[in-house]
Symmetry: C2
Amino acid sequence: MTTIQFLAQQLLAHNVKHLFCVPGDYSLKILDGFAKEGIRIINTCDEQGAGFAADAYGRLNGLGAVCITYCVGGLKVTNPVAEAFAEKSPVVVISGAPGLRERQKDPLLHHKVKDFDTQLNVFKALTVFATILENPRDIGAQILQAIELALQYKRPVYLEIPRDIVTAEIEIPKNGFSTGFLQSNPKALDEALKEAKAMIESSSQPLILADVEIQRFGLQKELEMLTTQTGIPVCATLLGKSVIAETHPHYIGVYEGATGSEEVCAYFDQSDCLILLGVFMTDITLGSTKSALDMSKCIYATSEKLTIRYHSFEEVRFEDFVKGLLALNIRKSLPKQLPHPPSPLLSRIDENANISVNSFFGLVNSFLSPKTVVIADVGESLFGAIDLVIHESTEFISPAYYASVGFSIPASIGAELARPHLIPFVICGDGAFQMTGIELSTACRYNLRPIVFLLNNGGYSTERIFLDGPFNNLLNWNYSKITELLGCGRSCSVKTNRELKEAIEKAMSDRDSFWLIEVMLSPTDHSLALQRMAQRIMP
Amino acid sequence: MTTIQFLAQQLLAHNVKHLFCVPGDYSLKILDGFAKEGIRIINTCDEQGAGFAADAYGRLNGLGAVCITYCVGGLKVTNPVAEAFAEKSPVVVISGAPGLRERQKDPLLHHKVKDFDTQLNVFKALTVFATILENPRDIGAQILQAIELALQYKRPVYLEIPRDIVTAEIEIPKNGFSTGFLQSNPKALDEALKEAKAMIESSSQPLILADVEIQRFGLQKELEMLTTQTGIPVCATLLGKSVIAETHPHYIGVYEGATGSEEVCAYFDQSDCLILLGVFMTDITLGSTKSALDMSKCIYATSEKLTIRYHSFEEVRFEDFVKGLLALNIRKSLPKQLPHPPSPLLSRIDENANISVNSFFGLVNSFLSPKTVVIADVGESLFGAIDLVIHESTEFISPAYYASVGFSIPASIGAELARPHLIPFVICGDGAFQMTGIELSTACRYNLRPIVFLLNNGGYSTERIFLDGPFNNLLNWNYSKITELLGCGRSCSVKTNRELKEAIEKAMSDRDSFWLIEVMLSPTDHSLALQRMAQRIMP
């Protein structure tokens, strides 16, 4: 078996059926090999698009993969790979490279930067495992190790394949790779759970805050059962939004510290027992409240650490702790007065009025169903989306912590391929669209059909709040003409709530191609969430 | 004086009047500060475009600058910065970043990857100097050092500015920064020149091969005088194409080893004294001939080393050696039979026939003048351009070694701002256009007017020669509709030589906006250069 056959086999074993790429001379044999093994090759316009698509695919599929050429391709995916690292998405980065025989005497082969290890060194800074496949005796084990580490840490790994190694015969490892990752120490787990139980049972207002690791480790069902069974209400971070169906009666909304809903914030502050599950302590998801968080009332469990009040436990796996909490059979009575997650109401929308940020999200909300997945870009697209009601778990994707503008459209490519039965609702700003919107070409090419809402508010409006200047302006394109450039897709531009409603209805019924709906907004109209956020983030 | 004032002052002192950027919350104060100091802020659609524009600006202006935000911006310019490193273009990379006060206790601030040094570590691998500006006592000296190193090595440097440092008052260094870069040792220089003189004078067929360092170090005049005065003919590498006006009677063409012109290659091989000036020994520019080069007949001078036959000299600056060669007053008689650089002849073009790769370059060639600058992208755009006759020195730019597809259109932004009196002739393929062509938006916004030739041959045709598959196909856009999407610019699509000629005439006379000329080519029509190249590069 060759390197590429073994790698393809392992990816397919983890349900990776699509590979995102831009080809280059060093990567052609890799693409050809994968195609022959039955992996579908998805070309994007630019490597950046392939990186974001693979990230989104990894989030929904459990593992994603991107293949690029040496340096001129690899260095273009550093940002999406950094995003996958920061927000825990398991992605295998596969780079073509000069052959080992070509590297002798260190010649200046095209695409080389400082030396042959430059790209490897860059990816060491952005992944949990990075290596060059060189020795046919080790390659099989290295591939197993890379995939195992990606799955264990839910983070990207990097495999560089010199082009004379792609079809080299390799030794097949007899055993799978063991990361040496321990099972939980039963005594430590037991002690931690007993403490947690005592803390929760003696509390008068316990609250669960759930974040994205619940989704990454596949614990959504456990979370749902935990809140249903115990009567402890649950809120989510912005990054973790949709780890629980937002229609669940125990769900109180998104918690974002002082920048989020006042009602949720007050309930959180009053809680005497906070159960933080898989939470990233970030400035965006917690609204800069980390220093204010009183750890003496916290049970804080993630895949990297478990802390109860001020002490930590070793050797307790996140999954085991969450499942253990469920098995404790705690019963609390659900408080009678819970914050309601705000549900934007259609009845309050004047159909003849111009669209506002609030009416836009209200209208979109009325079309959400278990058949839609919302993919929000950065800025107003994300902050406004806080109040959307997601019907089932994991139907909301956004780069809510890493916050890389331009994620959403290429991400929708990966999302739709991973979950073909869902309709992506993509929400992005004009700035994001100018960065990566051209990847709608990829949607055309592979007959993908996202519904893209382009919020046209005439520039980087999020940044205007911080500090304005001409650098926050954008050239105002005729966005809906993109269908003419690409020769496919459908588009329209809408100003009033009625036009928006009719456009969504049309896009939901005419499902033959992507839809771009340009939503005209006033540059000075902002969601409350964004205004609060701006006040907090700027030093 | 504040950090940003001092940095702006230093950039302006080196004629950096434009700064390429995409704004982000960590970089807003930097942009605002530069604008107030009189540096013009140029927004691109995506950071990649800003990086390529700054590289091209650096090549033509002697120094360029790009400003991006932390990680989500910085990591998007790793590829253009790697290109600037590989092909020696001096670019100052200025990154916004979280404030020093915000970094205390290592919180998860938005955009952070592994730790606060991740981006710094990545740029250490891609620049000759990378630092975070932290201490007001050192900042002035660090800025001087960064700019001096960029200029000395003609390579990128990286300055990260925490946002609470941007307007901090700093100490102004009393002295300029000395890199400790020695003047040449006069005795070593003298010995080297004497040896060179003896070698050249005793040779019967000396030849100069000039590469891009001649341009980077501003030695074009010296090169011209050297060949004029000594009668030694000169050829150029592909990367160095146009370091001498190609209309010079002593110029014999581009040398690319076995992949280039046979006549030039034969003359090169027969030479008994090769004077290699500023040459990068790369697989592309030398056509994989490095191992075959007989060093016993070489005088090999670059900014990094000086070697005569098999021995090297220390402490001899490249500039001093080139100027020293000129002062030697060597007189050789110009050989009577020199290879003619092929000049594509209009008379052989059938105006009614469909455009071929050869007729395209022949027609474009007839429009070149001292008022045009050719910017060639990678692939057929570059290989076909070999035979264009560039009229004055430095009117040809391409990533001929690093070979990053998508360079040309954003590069034209930087080139036109650096040399506003020149008309950029941009030659790119459909693959390149789908990557970065959208930066024509930036041309619109700042009223820049490149003439873009889009060679539409239905996919990554250069790669088809190596190994073909569906991954080399592209969606066939209606490219000329980009003017409708952007709401500006002019475009057309041409099939016959007559249509092409008329389109160029129109674009040269109607100079109110950019022009996109889509040139329809057969997917199977290749330049001879590309066919030879493909045979050599593929192992």
